[in-house]
């Protein structure tokens, strides 16, 4: 037995290629081009899935990704949507969320106890007592759920691309195709996308037996596909709308982010199910689903069908069913006063029984509940929306096609900020106020007649053209005329319920009534309480009915109920698509490979990879750091400081610029000397510090810490925009490599590579010299940051490896060793230098860190000056002090950010702390109350474990200056 019928015009199948697959262990054959659902339905397999909550058997509902009745797994992918996923050779498929298979799901007992599980049941029943909730949650989550996550899912790269076009048309139905063609004819570059595998939209299947629609489509597609200005992409859905016409389009291979100059949304409408008892049985499907089965896949929906309709569309469906070889038992029309239009006459002629003013009171299931065996029909009061069941009768059938109306596929319009209003002529929300450059056409715009839709496409194209500055005449379009394509309230109440509104979530009419009774009678609250529209199809087939039901309950017009918020993504989109390639930009110094070859452990500082320390075999991090620090104190060490921020300030006003930007004095600074710079913000808070070296009267060379460099440079640029001084700022951070060679042997090592006089007398601390080192032009700075016997070399980045190698070679016999940024932090601490960002926070002013000496209050202006003048009048609240722990301290080691405790009060915190092997003490900085700042004061630090450790305030540096000559220091 098979539901497959002879080849239909424009069917999507390749009949030359058979596809073998298994479903629930059974072997099936379909054709290439089939979806999983169409192939199974062709084989008369109707139970294709189980519902989320009650485990009810389910079959085809929309065949269009507007419901998730058919969710499958092939062992790798989970929650595959059978209605749209194309069949592949060798697929081995199972329905998700069953125990023991889709036909005999052991969890189907839940359906029979469903009266015990009213909406909100889980919330109420299991949340108290709280301690038991995890137990219940475990059970509930296993029973109610979808597919099982595959933790071995292969990582397959999905590209994320950018694309551009003049006009993006969403939806390649008759409206969209016409709009795209019109716009392209006028010269626009148009991209048109459609989520279906083939373009054409309803023109492909809504035929009512008319062969002309196929020719129409052929003609339209021919024009579009051949047009050089049109790109058509099918199997591609517009996932959302983001500002300024950015539309991510999702395809199997990845996401393309389209930036369009204008957008036409011609996305059509979702058919909405009428609501009656057992409207979810396999074999009960939407009219458009029946048409899709017939014309896309050449599958007969059923043998003996009933059409239940509440609009004229159902009559078209009935004709299509007849043409497919289905015997139409009857057409049941909820409307009493309607004649069903043209097609009703044809049905009469073909001897089909029509019951106006009637409804399907309930569908009857076969004994194994795998299909429909009949329908109970009775009169329907179309005003009061009640079934008049007194004279009900039963018609036998094996399927029911339903047509009750439509809901606009307006998600993108909502996201773009479109104002929608309810149009009673079509019983639908339609765009009322569209954002600039966004246009709607066709069913989503409340236009249903085919001819009129195509003209609406032309109208939208002309609107888009005018928006883009083309002079084309406005094109007017009349509103929908004739019977409403949607019924105002296609619900059939039933005392026993099971009349489903939301098939994803098993929500019935009474669930809404109960929710309203509990006070959840606002659409957003009702959504969350009942979970309507919260399933994977996001209300595509249920939200409109939910709004109608709520409006009825509250006796309000539909437009007063409003709609829920429509969020991206339009269809669920795999995480791998969202992730894409992933960019992790990082900066490397030119010496990076050397560090790697010498076993460096790297740390991320901003975008930079810096060598943190170089552990020898079996050395701990702490050992490595102490050994590197000891080398600097006893012989020599060298660090790659290329990540330091380096900025050149050129021009006659260079010194003036620094005077305004930093706290100190620079006009008086001598060429060849270096000065400390301290940057504050306008409120007087410490931002960063560094060294300004004067290389010429009109050139300063600024070096600042790694992490803040980009931000400081940016602020300098901003200040220059405001001040308009005669200067030029050049960020040479990446252009110069830097290295600092430090320690008692540093001078001798460096001397072997340069002619420069390095004596401490002629080249004292805080001075800069330009010299050739190892054959390379270098800026040599005596900075006492990690040692008072240190030279910082700045050389062109591309030659820094060369200079580094030369120094390493020259330093071999002196025990020179590299040290990393972690060691540098210890070394500067030993030297007693605090660091902004480590020893200061977002509230620290310079008085609190004892930096008064760096501030020249009597100059006309610097950033933060006015605030300091206010702060200076106030008593200090905290003070940064250097401290030591007891000698031979051997207890619980305090950490950075541990609190300083005074009695029961918090008196401050530790900002830096480390053991120094060289000094053989634990040393650090801490904020304390000013009362404790005097040298010799003691304070208590509370460690992580709660113990109190006594610290003593000392003076910096923590050890004696190593250079004997006072002059050179």
């Amino acid at each position: 037995m098979s539901f497959r019928i002879p080849k239909q015009a424009r069917e999507w199948l390749n009949r030359d290629k058979k596809i073998n697959f298994t479903f629930e262990g059974e072997t099936f054959t379909g054709f290439e081009g089939d979806t999983i659902s169409s192939a199974l339905w062709a084989a008369e397999q109707k139970v294709l899935g189980r519902s989320f909550k009650y485990h009810r058997p389910r079959g085809v509902l929309s065949l269009a990704n507007h419901d998730i009745n058919v969710m499958l797994t092939d062992g790798t992918d989970t929650n595959m949507r059978g209605d749209i996923v194309e069949l592949k050779e060798g697929m081995s498929l199972n329905a998700v969320n069953t125990i023991g298979g889709v036909k005999k799901d052991k969890n189907s007992y839940i359906d029979s106890i469903s009266p015990l599980l009213p909406v909100g049941f889980y919330y109420k029943a299991f949340h108290t007592p709280r301690r038991l909730f995890p137990f219940w949650e475990n059970i509930i989550r296993k029973a109610a759920g979808l597919g099982v996550v595959n933790f071995n899912y292969p990582r397959i790269l999905k590209r994320k691309q950018h694309a551009h076009c003049d006009l993006l048309v969403i939806g390649a139905g008759p409206t969209g195709l016409t709009a795209a063609y019109e716009a392209a004819q006028a010269g626009l570059e148009v991209t048109i996308i459609d989520e279906n595998r083939h373009a054409g939209g309803s023109l492909g299947y809504n035929r009512a037996g008319d062969k002309a629609s196929v020719e129409y489509l052929d003609d339209l597609l021919n024009k579009v596909v051949r047009h050089p200005k049109i790109t058509l992409r099918t199997d591609a859905y517009a996932a959302g709308y983001y500002p300024d016409h950015l539309i991510p389009v999702v395809e199997a291979g990845g996401i393309t982010k389209f930036r369009a100059k204008a957008v036409i949304v011609a996305s059509g409408a979702f058919e909405q199910p009428p609501v009656f008892r057992y409207n979810d049985l396999p074999g009960v499907m939407l009219g458009s689903a029946a048409q899709r089965l017939i014309y896309r896949y050449s599958v007969k929906p059923f043998n003996n069908g009933i059409v239940v309709t509440a609009n004229d569309y159902g009559y078209r469906v009935a004709i299509d069913l007849l043409d497919a070889g289905t015997k139409v038992v009857a057409v049941v029309d909820l409307r009493s006063g309607s004649n069903g239009g043209l097609h009703a006459a044809e049905l009469y002629r073909r001897g089909i029984k029509i019951y106006p003013g009637h409804c399907v009171y309930e569908a009857l299931a076969t004994s194994d509940k795998s299909s429909v065996r009949g329908a109970v029909i009775c009169a329907y009061d179309d005003k009061e929306n009640i079934a008049l069941a007194a004279n009900k009768f039963t018609l036998e059938c094996d399927g029911i096609a339903m047509s009750a109306g439509w809901a606009p596929a307006a998600a993108l319009l909502y996201q773009a900020g479109t104002g929608m209003q309810f149009d009673y002529g079509v019983q639908q929300f339609v765009p009322n106020r569209l954002p600039e450059g966004v246009f709607a056409a066709g069913k989503v715009n409340g236009i249903y007649d085919l001819d009129q839709r195509m003209r609406d496409g032309i109208r939208a194209a002309s609107d888009a053209l005018r928006h883009l500055g083309h002079s084309v005449a406005p094109y007017a379009i009349e509103k929908h005329n004739g019977p409403s394509p949607s019924h105002a309230y296609p619900m059939v109440p039933h005392a026993k319920g099971k009349n489903f509104v939301d098939f994803d979530e098993d929500i019935q009419i009474k669930d809404f009534e109960n929710a309203a009774k509990e006070g959840f009678d606002n659409i957003e609250l009702m959504k969350r309480f009942t979970t309507v529209g919260m399933g994977p199809s996001q209300g595509k087939h249920s939200n409109m009915n939910a709004i109608r039901i709520l409006a009825k309950i509250r006796s309000l017009p539909v437009e007063k109920i409003g709609t829920t918020t429509s969020r991206p993504f339009f269809h669920p989109t795999p995480i791998g698509h969202l992730g894409g390639r992933g960019f992790h930009p990082h900066r490397l110094t030119a010496i990076h490979d050397w560090h790697q070859a010498h076993g460096a452990v790297f740390t991320d500082i901003g975008a930079w990879k810096r060598a943190a320390y170089y552990p020898a075999a079996n050395h701990s991090k702490e050992d490595a750091i102490q050994a590197e620090a000891m080398a600097v104190r006893k012989s020599a060490g060298i660090i790659d400081a290329s990540s330091f921020g380096k900025i050149e300030i050129y021009g006659p006003d260079a010194a003036e610029f620094l005077e305004r930007f930093f706290t100190g004095s620079y006009i008086s600074q001598k060429v060849g000397s270096c000065r400390y710079v301290l940057l504050l913000d306008e409120s007087g808070v410490v931002v960063d510090d560094g060294i300004a070296s004067r290389l010429a009267t009109d050139l300063f060379y600024l070096s600042i810490g790694t992490s803040n460099a980009a931000a400081v440079y940016r602020e300098m640029q901003r200040s220059q925009q405001e001040w308009q001084l005669n200067i030029a700022l050049v960020n040479v951070t990446g252009a110069y490599g830097a290295m600092n060679i430090a320690g008692p042997s540093a001078r001798e090592i460096l001397a072997s590579l340069t002619d420069l006089d390095l004596s401490y007398e002629s080249f004292p601390i805080s001075h800069i010299q330009e010299a050739v080192v190892a054959g390379v032009e270098a800026r040599v700075i005596r900075v006492a940051f990690v040692s008072d016997m240190a030279y910082e070399l700045h050389v062109p980045m591309a030659q820094s490896q060369h200079v580094w190698n030369a120094l390493i070679e020259a330093g071999k016999k002196h025990g020179l060793r590299p040290f990393g940024s972690d060691t540098q932090r210890l070394l500067r601490l030993e030297m007693g230098h605090h660091m902004p960002g480590i020893d200061t926070d977002g509230l620290t002013n310079p008085f609190e860190i004892g930096a008064e000496w760096a501030i020249k209050m009597d100059k006309p202006y610097f950033i933060g000056q006015r605030s300091l003048s206010i702060l200076a009048k106030r008593p200090l609240r905290k003070q940064l002090v250097p401290f030591v722990l007891a000698s031979n301290f051997n207890a619980d080691m305090p950490m950075e950010c541990n609190l300083v405790i005074d009695g029961n009060e918090i008196a401050g915190r530790v900002t830096s702390i480390s053991y120094s092997k060289f000094i053989d003490r634990c040393i650090g900085f801490a904020f304390v109350t000013p009362a404790k700042k005097a040298v010799g004061s003691e304070f208590q630090i509370r460690t992580d474990s709660g113990s109190l450790v006594t610290a003593t305030v000392v003076e910096t540096p923590f050890f004696k200056n190593q250079i004997k000559s006072q002059k050179g220091a």
């Binding site: 500002p243 950015l246 930036r259 640029q717 901003r718 000056q865």
Partner: protein, 97 residues
């Protein structure tokens, strides 16, 4: 993603820009009171409406001013601060004539 127009480099996605806060004129620091200065430093007017904002085009290092309505998120104009000063000077001169 929003687009923003840098007066030098043209229209670019917002990801190329860094927001620099509201553009505000500091009071004359030598004559204002402490309270006026503190208000300038610490207080921001959060009500939505037309604002002048600093924006930085990162790839080119261009600071400019964007006039943006923070309620509608519409940017009405962007310009270099120096351009605006020139424009204002011109306007003032012409008004003075």
């Amino acid at each position: 993603m929003k687009l923003l127009t840098c007066p030098v480099n043209g229209t670019r996605p917002l990801s190329e820009f860094i927001f620099g806060g509201e553009y505000r004129q500091a009071p004359e620091q030598n004559s204002c009171t402490d309270a006026e200065w503190a208000a300038y430093v610490h207080n921001r007017h959060g009500a939505p409406g037309d604002k002048k904002e600093w924006w930085y085009h990162s790839p080119s290092g261009t600071w400019f001013i964007a006039e943006r309505n923070t309620l509608t998120d519409k940017v009405s104009s962007t310009y270099l601060l120096s351009q605006k000063n020139l424009n204002e000077e011109k306007a003032a001169q012409e008004a003075g004539k």
